[in-house]
């Protein structure tokens, strides 16, 4: 991967922390954004199903309300796919891109699809529990970071 042009960082604190491991506040904010996007995708799917049913089915527009288990399962699948795609492609999801974070290996390398998929499985399954370990970890690592040997760093560059 090649370096791309980077935007100048005017804040001295942010400039000094580039490449360092990110803390709980930044990561929770990024994950909250990602979780909101997963929910939006799920709602969008439901709306699309209702629209399809309206066009070819009963003739009345009605957004389905699946059971909680179906919703959780669907959102889990969506989250795994979304996170895997984000970490494999640009090593950052939309939430992490907004917060200027990037997921790398402990040796500072970009993630491959298998490691991204495993990390996504753990994140989607454990959720906030896995992330809470960041608070007490000396390396600001969550359970999923420890499991797949990854780190989340500050990276405000636009490089992919």
């Amino acid at each position: 991967m090649t370096a791309a042009t980077s935007s100048p960082i005017r804040n001295a604190t942010a400039r000094g922390l580039q490449g360092k491991r990110a803390g709980i506040a930044s990561r929770v904010t990024a994950d909250a954004i990602d979780w909101g996007i997963v929910v939006l995708i799920y709602v969008g799917i439901l709306v699309c199903v209702a629209l399809a049913d309206y066009l070819v089915g009963s003739g009345s527009f009605h957004v389905p309300r699946p059971p909680a288990g179906v919703t959780l399962g669907s959102e889990w699948v969506i989250a795994v796919l979304y996170l895997t795609a984000g970490w494999t492609g640009t090593n950052r999801t939309i939430g992490k891109s907004v917060m200027g974070l990037r997921v790398v290996t402990n040796r500072g390398q970009l993630l491959r699809p298998r490691r991204s998929f495993l990390r996504a499985l753990i994140c989607a399954t454990l959720g906030a529990i896995a992330l809470a370990w960041v608070i007490v970890s000396r390396r600001r690592a969550g359970i999923h970071d420890i499991a797949v040997r990854t780190s989340v760093v500050y990276d405000w560059t636009t490089a992919t």
Partner: protein, 316 residues
């Protein structure tokens, strides 16, 4: 019918500008009377000039009584009448003398003709007449040659004389004395310009050659642009300019959407950066609180070895 009083101009022919060509008078037939006429004319002319000069000299050096200024018709002086009187008397005497000479000449001619026809003296008389006639012809030829020489001399002398006269003239003083303004006032400039073929003159002018000889840079250096701009009525010009169409054209050329996107993106980027920095500081705050609760004194390891934000490497 009303009688008009007589006027001095009645019956007069109005003056005209017609020119009567001068013709050289035929010289009289050379004879005793002709010779006497020429000799007397010459003598009378010389006497008249001499008399007039003498009278001028006498009046200049021996001035008479001043003329009465109130006398409208000032009578000439006694001395001034002398040249005219002498000339008049001389002319009358010349005419009488020439009349006598003509009668004597005619008499002599008749006698000579009779003698020429006489049987004895006719031969010598005709011989004498032929002899005199030859000398007369020779004299006339000599006179004609002298007249030709004089004419040629005058023809050559005139330009030399004119050049010498012009060289002696003070042209500046002469020009100062000329009523140039009055002359110019009488000139019809418009009529003069109407007779000028301006197009023909312009066609003969090589404008490119003239422009090549003009030092434009030097002219520009001498131009006071600020003074020119200061004389321009900018407000008046702006008042005459229809700004609305110009503004619409400018707006059509400017991509306002791109400007809005750039400015909006900059504002959004600043807001996002602010949120990121706040989260960073909150990260540090949580770490310090946690470490204090857990009684940690060793700082956290935040460095990811081998990671370069500018050029992250692919996972092996």
């Amino acid at each position: 019918m009303e009688q008009r009083p007589p006027h001095p101009d009645d019956g007069r022919v109005p003056p005209t500008t017609a020119v009567v060509p001068w013709t050289r008078p035929e010289p009289p037939v050379l004879g005793l009377t002709g010779f006497l006429r020429r000799a007397s004319d010459l003598g009378l002319g010389a006497a008249s000039i001499a008399t007039t000069a003498a009278v001028d000299a006498i009046e200049r050096f021996v001035p008479g009584e001043p003329a009465d200024p109130e006398d409208e018709v000032s009578a000439p002086g006694l001395v001034r009448l002398v040249p005219g009187a002498l000339m008049g008397a001389g002319l009358v005497a010349q005419r009488r003398m020439l009349d006598v000479s003509a009668r004597v000449e005619r008499g002599l001619a008749g006698v000579a003709a009779s003698l020429a026809r006489a049987p004895i003296v006719g031969g010598p008389v005709r011989a004498t007449e032929g002899y005199l006639e030859r000398w007369s012809d020779a004299g006339e030829v000599e006179q004609a040659r002298n007249r030709a020489l004089v004419t040629e001399f005058v023809r050559r002398l005139a330009p030399e004389l004119a050049t010498a006269v012009v060289a002696q003239l003070d042209m500046n003083s002469l020009m100062g004395q000329l009523p140039i303004d009055a002359v110019v006032a009488t000139v019809d400039i418009d009529a003069l310009l109407d007779r000028v073929n301006v197009e023909g003159i312009i066609d003969r002018v090589d404008v490119e050659k003239i422009i090549d000889r003009v030092d434009v840079e030097k002219i520009i250096d001498r131009v006071d642009v600020n003074a020119i701009v200061g004389r321009v009525d900018v407000q008046g010009i702006m008042g005459r300019v229809d700004i609305a169409p110009m503004a619409q054209e400018i707006i059509a050329e400017v991509d306002i959407g791109a400007i809005v996107r750039q400015s909006t993106g900059s504002i959004t980027g600043d807001a996002v950066d602010g949120g990121r920095v706040t989260a960073m500081r909150l990260d540090g705050f949580v770490d310090r609180v946690t470490d204090r609760i857990l009684l940690r004194r060793k700082t956290r390891n935040l460095v990811v070895p081998g990671y370069d934000p500018e050029a992250p490497e692919e996972d092996a």
